[in-house]
Symmetry: C2
Subunit: 363 residues, 2 copies
């Protein structure tokens, strides 16, 4: 009945810390989680497919900033670290070749915690058909996990931020705000019992899972490639724009518009609110979490109608329950506006300031 | 007269911190140091050469562990971070495609310091014909620089740790111990005036430069490829072993031996002591720094005589002043022993315990 992944907890007879094991001992412990032959050379060797472009993306998680080691299970920290990077690959239209893990960690860190982290990492990369192909360990006063993911994509099918064009439909691959709802429930479990219409146990678990074990949308990449290739032959080899929504849906649309020199018109009634969120938290909070919550790791795509139709056809029977949802349209100008039911009203202007910005809002 | 690179100090009219600029402002400041088009997409896109294997290597520098932000100029931190990764590529026989920089940094970090860091990074990668192709910024209580370097190499010419064979010569590409001498001089400048025979100002500057601005030995890679290809056609396609000496010369030999299931016989008189080191610090300390000092970033290669001769011929007129030095021989067994002038004496057994081990010795 509990949909959270059940990862067996690490079995360590003694409360070993990494200082007890030393670097070499630690490397031996972590070897089973990595691709064969990873531990023991200065670098990993991969063989990219001929003719493909290589995509490289890097993402860092810091204890106390992106997660709390006391409240987040290490498996979830590992899963999320891998998922965030795989999501960046998906947002470029790439499929993964492997990822490297650079860990800076305090000597008091327990080996069980570290093994849990690697278990989460290995489970996520394994679920997406790839592997940990390299890494580095060093000591630090604070836990920092830096991951670099490598992927490949046929060069004409690379998705870029700056390729949105006026008239493109803005479509998303899933609900937004569920991760934020899950975080709130983890921070204050009693909140599940409050509100006009508290979430069902199933909703609660789904939201917590969305926060702890987000799923990068690599499932859409093969369908996207097929639809984009068709779309390109029909429209003079144009490129297409995408981002993931790791920093929030509003941030993704704003970044796409800024990079492409366009604006966007979003329709409030079409926003992908998770079912049950508005009736629990009220519409204002639900909209806020949907637009600015972040960490949903869905794709935000800007596609002409014909390509969107092709994508829906390509995904066909394999399409997940949510499918694709059109949330707005790319327009001329530079403003991103959110419109209510009255098409005559000017709409609310959205700005980046409200989004997740590491060095301004958070200090 | 001063051989230290003169990098102009960043000109900032106000003592800006990164919290003042915010993430987007910071990214705009750092864009000039990166390859065009890097800032602004979820990942970087590279085009590897056909038929080459991809090499990936990751390395992390932590403030207070690997450097002190108060005593190390930011340009040197940047240079060393890049150099350490390029050195790992050289140790695999690879030439660089690009590198990514993941920075976790406190909001109080000055923009001038950060720009200095990027200046050092950009200068190092530029000197070696490559570029910063991606990155990530996030806040953290402590400064952590994680770099991932990408390189490529023809698959048969990949250098591995586990390919040393009995009878191979162990050769190095430069002096060892200079970086440690430089560090000691930086920690205590007055030490340059002590000892039986203090270093000349030129030696002092060379050692400090060896510590702050180490040069990865990518210069040897083209010559190595030529000699290895010849050696392979002569000896049934065998592979060859190498490491860099970032964790010390003794550590490199021990790791090569352990991975290859062999031993080594090192000759004390052939060890690559920097000129002037023994007369300044005495032979015991000089040997200690040469074997265990670390961070010299030279190559340690295990090559049959014929390949060594081919390498010397291939490097020809282009060979740097040091050339190659044979420091010992791969032998059967598992012990690494250091031998004095009397070939009948059993030799001193070297062990990994004495080398730089992040989580044991340092705590």
């Amino acid at each position: 009945m509990n949909p959270l992944p059940r990862i067996p907890s690490p079995r360590n007879p003694a409360p070993l810390t990494i200082a007890d094991l030393g670097e070499q001992g630690l490397l031996q412990r972590l070897q089973p989680f990595c691709a064969p032959g990873v531990v023991g050379d200065d670098g990993a060797v991969l063989q990219p497919s001929p003719g493909q472009a290589l995509v490289v993306t890097t993402d860092t998680l810091v204890e106390g900033v992106h997660f709390s080691a006391t409240t987040t299970p290490p498996e979830a920290v590992g899963w999320r670290s891998a998922a965030a990077n795989l999501s960046d690959l998906a947002a470029m239209g790439a499929l993964p070749l492997g990822l490297t893990v650079a860990l800076a960690l305090p000597s008091t860190c327990s080996v069980a915690w570290l093994e849990g982290l690697y278990q989460g990492l290995a489970q996520c990369v394994g679920d997406y058909g790839t592997a940990i192909v390299g890494g580095d360990l060093c000591r630090a006063p604070h836990l920092v996990v830096s991951i670099t993911a490598l992927g490949e994509v046929p060069p004409p099918l690379v998705l870029k931020r700056n390729a949105a064009q006026v008239g493109d439909a803005i479509v998303v691959t899933g609900y937004h705000g569920a991760s934020r709802a899950g975080l709130e429930l983890l921070l204050d479990p009693d909140r599940a019992l409050t509100g006009l219409c508290p979430p069902s146990p199933q909703q609660r678990d789904q939201w917590i899972r969305a926060h702890q074990y987000p799923r990068p949308r690599l499932d859409w990449v093969p369908w996207l490639r097929s639809a984009l290739a068709q779309g390109q032959s029909a429209s003079a080899s144009r490129s297409f724009a995408a981002m993931d929504s790791s920093d929030g849906l509003a941030d993704a649309v704003l970044q796409l518009c800024r990079a492409s020199g366009v604006g966007a018109h979003l329709v409030q009634a079409d926003l992908p609110l998770p079912p049950g969120l508005a009736s629990w938290q009220g519409l204002a909070t639900a909209l806020d979490w949907t637009l600015y919550g972040g960490e949903d790791f869905e794709l935000v795509l800007c596609l002409p109608e014909t390509v969107l139709a092709g994508l829906e056809a390509a995904s066909g029977a394999g399409v997940p329950a949510f499918g694709l949802r059109r949330v707005g349209t790319i327009v001329a100008g530079s403003q991103v506006t959110l419109h209510g039911s009255d098409p005559q009203e000017p709409g609310r202007v959205l700005s980046l300031d409200r989004g997740f910005q590491h060095f301004s809002e958070l200090f």
